[in-house]
Symmetry: C2
Subunit: 404 residues, 2 copies
Amino acid sequence: MEIALARPKLISLAAGFTDSASLPVAEARALFDAILASPKTGQAALQYGTTAGDPVLRRLTAERLRAQDHAPRGSKLHAPERVIITSGSQQLLYMITEALCDPDDIVLVEDPTYFVYLGILQSHGIGARGVRMERDGLDLAHLETVLASLKRSGELKRVKLLYLVSYFQNPTGVTTSFAKKRATLRLLREYERAAGHPIYLVEDAAYRELRFTGEDVPSALTLPGAAERVIYGGTYSKPFATGVRVGFGLLPAAVHRVVMRLKGNHDFGTSNLLQQLLARALASGRYERHLEALRRRYAHKAAVTLRALEAHFPARAEWWTPRGGLYFWARLPHGVKSGVDSKLFRSALKHGVLYVPGVWCYAADPTRRKPDHELRLSFGGASEANLRAGIARFGDTLHELLDT
Amino acid sequence: MEIALARPKLISLAAGFTDSASLPVAEARALFDAILASPKTGQAALQYGTTAGDPVLRRLTAERLRAQDHAPRGSKLHAPERVIITSGSQQLLYMITEALCDPDDIVLVEDPTYFVYLGILQSHGIGARGVRMERDGLDLAHLETVLASLKRSGELKRVKLLYLVSYFQNPTGVTTSFAKKRATLRLLREYERAAGHPIYLVEDAAYRELRFTGEDVPSALTLPGAAERVIYGGTYSKPFATGVRVGFGLLPAAVHRVVMRLKGNHDFGTSNLLQQLLARALASGRYERHLEALRRRYAHKAAVTLRALEAHFPARAEWWTPRGGLYFWARLPHGVKSGVDSKLFRSALKHGVLYVPGVWCYAADPTRRKPDHELRLSFGGASEANLRAGIARFGDTLHELLDT
């Protein structure tokens, strides 16, 4: 991000920015206008809220999620009391990790995974083990191998949670199938006996609403045993406006209590005004209408990106085409390194293109080497023209490199 | 707060809410309207910002503080690069403590101090030592005694910072004199040699702008040696709108780097939209005009509170009259306990009045007993009528208790 800000002509396919042209400027204006039109609603929005979040937003969040999960009315897993509103889903991830893990603990992560989460782990001195990915989520056989090996080595008692970015994963774009969520939770519970404590399944659903093709998958909240073990995190920032930092979590009662205490210490509650903006956007239908338009927009940008990759990338490169979210994940032929010190990265930068090196997305797992020939391309922030131009330039760079 | 929310007829003199009727509803509406009138400024506000905060807000914050401190143009201590924007000043306090302290460390605090900060210390397993207060700030002789005793016991190496709420302190309303700030920093530096590391002076100036009488005191940033040792925290939430959570810190370069990393992990930046709201409020003069009105309003409410105390409190009770901020600090005759389990608290609650027991504001300092006959009364949230009625009822409760 620093490089991009310093060189405005650079085409950044790196940052997970959202599409500027599609931001809901008129919607936000109308919503604020309505909230601030009367002293009553205006004062309520400009005053402190409560630590857990605005009651209306908590209720709307729980109901929305219940509907997405096709859960019955009155579903206890989707009760408003289980909701906490946070400053983006990032803050939820931070607080959950702070609440559940001690230094030297181990977190299971997808291999690769969301690199900012790896930063959270690192800053707390928490270790990580990567579980290999398939096109429909975790490689279950590998998950079992990892758990069994941790059990053998006596390290299972340090494992507190598995972190899963379950929809259009950052960075791979992979969506975890429902069957795999079920099997994952079952495996974790099986190993709890040896661990001697709960092993939580943290489902980060940040990209869930950014689907542009196919059917939604129910969340892990609908699995048997989810009430005490599944932590669900979502966000309104990416689907609505990233400048509005409002995320949420649905937590088991015991975790909710601890995270509430942390939230009280962090900031005693996310901006009430922003929460009321979201509550009104949801209640008025503006959120949903905006989301529909956004999905079409991203579907189109993903298609533009795909066509550009097909036109400009060498045949020996591979990529995974996403059905939602903001990212393409690409693999270069082995031997073509993609890290910040690589020829490719420097050459791409010289051609004015920036990407996220795949190696950033791999945990420091002592049991394997980090792959270093992958990369993440974001189609969120760049304009269509820049997507085309950026990928063309990047393709040229790759051809040059492969030809020499 | 939970008690207050559950019993709407209760008069809460407890919560540090701000005055609802004075919240800048029309101002916020006009400001959002301007920001969101054009796609250009609207999109910029609804997109992600940077981790350190909006550059304009950082600059305006630094300039405003420089003017308040009567520092020369170009003052390095008031440089925009030293600013970080946070979700209220609370988040700054959290991150600074996280950055500088380890479990079992010791923080020096005013005795009494801001009780939410004590919660932060407790949640990190950090100890505290209280330094007695006088009407113009810390009792310097006691500070020296505490430091000397920590040195003797070999605990000085665990002392990382002194936390000072320097303007209209929460809970006592005391403002620290400039001479005391100077002497405090000098003492801390003197003991650094024995500590073997920096001991920071954290100046929490959350209430600085809520002055309604007398002259402002320059911040500790203007002291010799401040560049590497003083951490200054302020907020726009209390002076403007508590529903808008925007605070800030000015930090020594070494601390700034660490806190920036933490901020990236916590939430990678405070809501850009709220920051642009504040930047525009400051640049347009609306913030300053609102603040003037707010100061007059609080001055009036403080006067109402004082008259009610004089009329209804027993002669044997004492209180400190503040010159700014939101709180009166009262002392009951020894023997009249004020804690949540006390006769007084229960009786006040039965009469429909809530206050903050003084004991909450004392750190768990192993070297002294916590005083238990004090209380904090806030005049921020309650209406004038409720201030009068609440204090009258509370006075009756006290008279009953003292007469029996």
